[in-house]
Structure formats: structure tokens, C-alpha cells
């Protein structure tokens, strides 16, 4: 797990962006790549975490946080590269690409477990990106790679849209780039 633009002493309730996945299973890396892509585009204080660990680790990560925006790969819900947004409907969401380990929990299971243990954020928004290639190997498939900019844009908007000042700051940084 590598942490990004969080500064020491930042309030715990600052928004948190988590990219989840496995870099060595092609499209399963889309969450990780999306998190890297938004790292420099978010308002100060927003934490970005690239999370390659086992999903029970998410409970400590998001427990007590304010808004959490999580990006992960999904399968079987539409065309490759399609972006799905989940919020209240997340509990019914099946986020499981072909299983690479049955020893760990899925993100959905971590969410359910977090609810039972009182370890949830105030609000969770999940962007699920439809993957097509989950075999061992590095690199996103062309349709998923082509959607990465749109995923990053959706994450930035999600984090900033409820805070107009932050949105302007984020937009300014984009135009300077």
C-alpha cells in the first residue's frame, strides 16, 4: 500500500480516494492506475491510497473517514471499459472479477463486515470499471485503458462537486497542466 497526497496532521474526515486491485492481473489494475492518475488533481488534504493488500485492510483504512471514493475493476455487467457508479446500492453489488484468491475478502464483503464491526466511512462511492482481461499479466486491455481518463475525471468530480471552492482549485490545476 502506498499513500499519496495526505499531509501529516490532516483531519481524518478529509475525503479519501482508494484504488483497489492487482497489478499483475491486467484489467484488475484499473483502480490502481486511476488512483495514480488523480493524485495530483485533487484538492489539498485529500488522501490517495493505492491499495494492493488483502481487503480486510480496507476496514482500518476507511473506518471513520468522511467521503471515500473507491475504484475497482468489475466483471459481467456490460461492455468492457464501462464505468458504473454505486453508492447506496453497493451492498448488492458483486465486485468479483474471476477469483485469484479465496483466502481474502472481496471489497463488498469488507463493506459488509465493516458495517457489522462499526468500521465504515461516513459515505462510500464506488466506481466499478468493467474489465475484460483478468488473466495473469501486466497492462490494461485497450478498452479499459481507453476509459482511464474518464474514470479519473469521474473521481475528481465526485470528490470536488460538493465543495465548489475545491472544484475551482482542481479545475485550475488541470488547466495549468
Amino acid at each position: 500500500m502506498t499513500e499519496g497526497s495526505d499531509a501529516p496532521g490532516e483531519p481524518r474526515r478529509a475525503p479519501l480516494v482508494i484504488g483497489v486491485g492487482n497489478r499483475h492481473r491486467h484489467d484488475d489494475a484499473v483502480g490502481l492506475d486511476a488512483a495514480e492518475r488523480v493524485r495530483d488533481r485533487l484538492p489539498p488534504g485529500v488522501r490517495v491510497v493505492v491499495f494492493e493488500g488483502e481487503s480486510t485492510g480496507l476496514l482500518d483504512l476507511w473506518s471513520g473517514a468522511g467521503l471515500v471514493v473507491l475504484v475497482d475493476a468489475i466483471a459481467g455487467r456490460g461492455r468492457p471499459g464501462a464505468i458504473h457508479r454505486f453508492e447506496e446500492d453497493f451492498a448488492t453489488f458483486s465486485d468479483v472479477p474471476p477469483p485469484s484468491s479465496t483466502h481474502g475478502l472481496s471489497v463488498t464483503e469488507a463493506w459488509r463486515l465493516g458495517g457489522l464491526l462499526g468500521q465504515r466511512p461516513e459515505r462510500l462511492v464506488v466506481f466499478g470499471v468493467e474489465g475484460v482481461e483478468f488473466t495473469p499479466g501486466i497492462g490494461l486491455s485497450p478498452p479499459v485503458a481507453a476509459t482511464l481518463d474518464a474514470v479519473a475525471e469521474a473521481v475528481v468530480l465526485e470528490v470536488t462537486r460538493r465543495s465548489p471552492g475545491n472544484a475551482r482549485a482542481a479545475a485550475g490545476r488541470r488547466s495549468d497542466a
Partner: protein
């Protein structure tokens, strides 16, 4: 004539993909097959032609739960081939890394995979509904193990800081000191865990196991020792292939293992504890005694208590190493250039049991052959034996109850199918 088939087509709460098929004809158990259908993974072939230094990182990829075991067995085998020895603080750090893996792996198995069997829940999430404190305890333990892995290994899964001869980087004293609080807390949680699991209901079963584990003159074994068995075997790892043989069965993509000229045997916590109980720390022995754990456990369902006692030990051992840590001058021992064909074999104790590696190197230091025998591979036949006995004494159970009992019996041994295929669904046929 009646035939009954029990089929579990996909075993849950085990690592990897497998199934179970049991066929019963006229109240006789005719067939028990632990079917490992996870595809073969060809790691031994991938290693051919690679530089010897690559083996720890390549083999770590065999398992996301016990990568340290693969790194350790690979390093020790290579170091024996190269004629170097890692001692002192670097050796301590290897044991500390292994402590992290045992704590993390055992806590995961005890609380998230095995406890639901004993308490009558389909999974850990349902368990958390009624026993949130227990699941929190398990997750806190797991986190302490993960922290050790992260500090010493560079990351929690597939650590990247291990190399032949030692480590790429040694942690500063302050980095290990920062771990102390969480490991000390984990030690008290581990003792609570022993008491918690000792309160489960255990069927009155005894199996006649031949236990196989490392035995060290002074230590509860992680990295070193002779391979010993409860039947009197005592050999160096170099002699492993003279005492054990692997063979293919049609129903499994993983090779099975037996003692040459003998039958199945068991590796793992029960074996380690039976052969090394006297090497545990007084505190670990004390809590084992407090809950009435016998010196040799032959009831496979009670393996969960042994696993918990091993977590107590691993926490204590971690604290001992942290407290006496002085950063070494160099993070690794240099190896001489390879200028002739050499070979080396080693076995270390993965959380699930003995893990054997053997390598032959050519005159340029490239791997000519690799042989890896994982704990689950070695335990497969013994698990089938456990199941045969369980089904024979449980013939009057209905299908769901018998299926659940079989799955529970498999999880007694925390099988790691991904390692073994380098497994579960139950298929029960009653004829």
C-alpha cells in the same frame, strides 16, 4: 445395493480451487478424492535458466498468504549451494519476518476461515453478526502480523526485501521499535485466542498420524533444523528425497506425497507442536497447559488450538527479536561467484508445514533444475485419510450435515491449494 455420492463442487474458505468427491456403497466408503483442479502453475519450469538470485522473488509468487516461506526455503537452499551462512542479526530478522507471516496467516485461518465451522456460521461475515469482538480480535492480530511483514518485507503481500544472503535493506532500530506496541497487544490477543478456541466443541476423534516437522536443538522451528518424524526419522534436508516421494493421482493437479515404503504423513502446526512442544516459550506452554492442550494432539479438530498457541509463540519471539535488535553493518552476506555446478536443498516451516526446495545451479549460477514440495501437497493424502475415517463413522448423517463435516475436516489442515498446484466442491456418491 445403495450408492451415495457426496459432491462439494467448490470448496469455500480454502486458498485456491478444489473439490471433494466421496462414494459410499452399502455403507462402505469406497472412494475419497480431494480434487485439486486449480491448473498446474509450472513454477519449477519457470525457474530453469534464471539466475539463482531470482528464486526467492519468483517462488514468493506461488502464494499470497505464505510468500515468506517460499523466500526462506529458496534462500536457505541457495545459500547451502553457495556455501554461505547467514547468522546473528540477519538470521534473527528472518525469524522475525516468519513471525509476521505465521501471525497473519494463522489469525486469518482461525477467525475468518475455521471459527465459522465450530460456531455454526457459513462465513466470517455471519460470524461477525453475533461475535463482532472475536472477529475484531482476529483482524487486529492479522494486522499486527501484516505490520511486521510491511516493515521488514517492504510490503504486506509478496514482500520484496528478501535476498539470498539476507535483506536488501535492514530496518532502522526505530522502525522495529515502532512495531513493539502492536506486537505486545497482539500477544495478549493471542492468549485470548487460545482461550476462545479452546472453548469450541470438539468431536472425540483421534488419528494415527506420522508427524513430520523440523526439529532444532534450541528453537521452535522456523528456518532451520533436521527433518524429523514421530516414527523416528531424522534426516538433513539434503536427504529429503531419499525419505519422501511424490506421485501423481488422476483426480488432482497437485502431486501427493508419502513416506518412501510407507504411507501418508502430516506436516503443519500439529506436527511441529508434537515434535517441538518443549521448544515453545514458557508463556506459550503455560496457556496451552491452562486450556488443557495435550502434549501431542491427535484430534485434527483441535489443531485450531495448536495454531493459536503458535501465534502466542510467534508474538513472543517477535518481541524478543525486536528488543535485542541492533542494526547490522551490512544487510546481506556476499556470496562467492559460482564457477562450477552446485546444488543445495533446504526446508523451512511455512504456516501450513514443511516446505522443501532443492536447486541445481550450472557453472554460471543459473538454475538447472528446481524442486519444490509444498505443505498442502504433502498433506493431501493424509487429509483424504482423515476424510475416509470421518465419513465411515458418520454414515447416518444426512447429505448437508455430512458435507459440512467433510468441509470442516478439510479446513482443519488449512490447505493452500494454490501452493499445492504449483482445491473445494464435495461430490458424494452413495451406492
Amino acid at each position: 445395493m445403495t450408492e451415495r455420492t457426496i459432491a462439494v463442487n467448490y470448496l469455500a474458505r480454502v486458498e485456491g480451487e478444489g473439490a471433494l468427491r466421496v462414494r459410499i456403497r452399502d455403507r462402505t466408503v469406497e472412494e475419497v478424492e480431494l480434487r485439486i483442479f486449480e491448473p498446474p502453475r509450472f513454477f519449477e519450469a519457470f525457474l530453469r535458466g534464471r539466475a539463482y538470485a531470482e528464486a526467492p522473488d519468483v517462488t514468493a509468487r506461488i502464494c499470497g498468504i505464505c510468500p515468506v516461506a517460499y523466500q526462506m526455503s529458496a534462500c536457505h537452499a541457495m545459500e547451502r549451494a553457495l556455501g554461505i551462512r547467514v547468522d546473528g542479526t540477519l538470521r534473527d530478522l528472518r525469524r522475525l519476518l516468519y513471525c509476521g507471516e505465521w501471525i497473519e496467516s494463522h489469525a486469518l485461518h482461525i477467525y475468518l476461515l475455521h471459527a465459522p465451522d465450530f460456531l455454526g456460521y457459513p462465513d466470517a461475515i455471519q460470524l461477525a453478526r453475533d461475535h463482532p469482538e472475536a472477529v475484531r480480535r482476529g483482524l487486529a492480530l492479522k494486522k499486527a502480523g501484516n505490520s511486521i511483514m510491511r516493515v521488514l518485507g517492504g510490503r504486506e503481500i509478496h514482500p520484496i526485501n528478501v535476498r539470498v544472503g539476507g535483506f536488501y535493506r535492514c530496518p532502522g532500530p526505530e522502525e522495529l521499535a515502532d512495531l513493539r506496541g502492536s506486537v505486545e497487544h497482539a500477544l495478549s490477543l493471542a492468549e485470548e485466542t487460545v482461550r476462545f478456541v479452546a472453548g469450541f466443541d470438539f468431536p472425540a476423534v483421534e488419528e494415527d498420524y506420522e508427524f513430520v516437522a523440523l526439529r532444532h536443538p534450541e528453537e521452535y522451528p522456523f528456518n532451520e533444523g533436521r527433518i524429523e518424524s514421530s516414527a523416528g526419522l531424522s534426516i538433513d534436508a539434503e536427504e529429503y528425497e531419499s525419505a519422501f516421494e511424490e506421485f501423481q493421482v488422476a483426480h488432482s493437479n497437485a502431486l501427493q506425497s508419502v513416506r518412501k515404503g510407507g504411507g501418508s504423513y502430516l506436516v503443519g502446526p500439529m506436527a511441529r507442536y508434537a515434535l517441538n512442544g518443549d521448544r515453545l516459550t514458557p508463556r506459550a506452554r503455560g496457556v496451552a497447559r491452562e486450556v488443557g492442550l495435550e502434549n501431542v494432539v491427535r484430534n485434527p479438530f483441535r489443531s485450531v488450538i495448536v495454531r493459536a498457541v503458535e501465534v502466542v509463540f510467534a508474538c513472543e519471539e517477535a518481541l524478543r527479536i525486536i528488543d535485542r535488535y541492533r542494526m547490522p553493518e551490512r544487510p546481506w552476506v556476499d556470496a562467492p561467484a559460482v564457477d562450477r555446478p552446485v546444488h543445495g536443498a533446504a526446508a523451512t516451516e511455512a504456516p501450513r508445514g514443511l516446505l522443501y526446495h532443492r536447486y541445481e545451479l550450472d557453472a554460471g549460477g543459473a538454475i538447472r533444475t528446481a524442486r519444490i514440495v509444498a505443505p498442502t501437497s504433502q498433506n493431501q493424502k493424509r487429509i483424504e485419510d482423515d476424510l475416509r475415517h470421518l465419513v465411515a463413522r458418520s454414515l447416518d448423517l444426512d447429505e448437508p450435515a455430512l458435507t459440512a463435516a467433510c468441509e470442516h475436516a478439510i479446513r482443519n489442515h488449512d490447505p493452500c491449494i494454490s501452493c499445492a498446484t504449483h482445491f473445494l466442491s464435495l461430490d458424494l456418491v452413495r451406492e
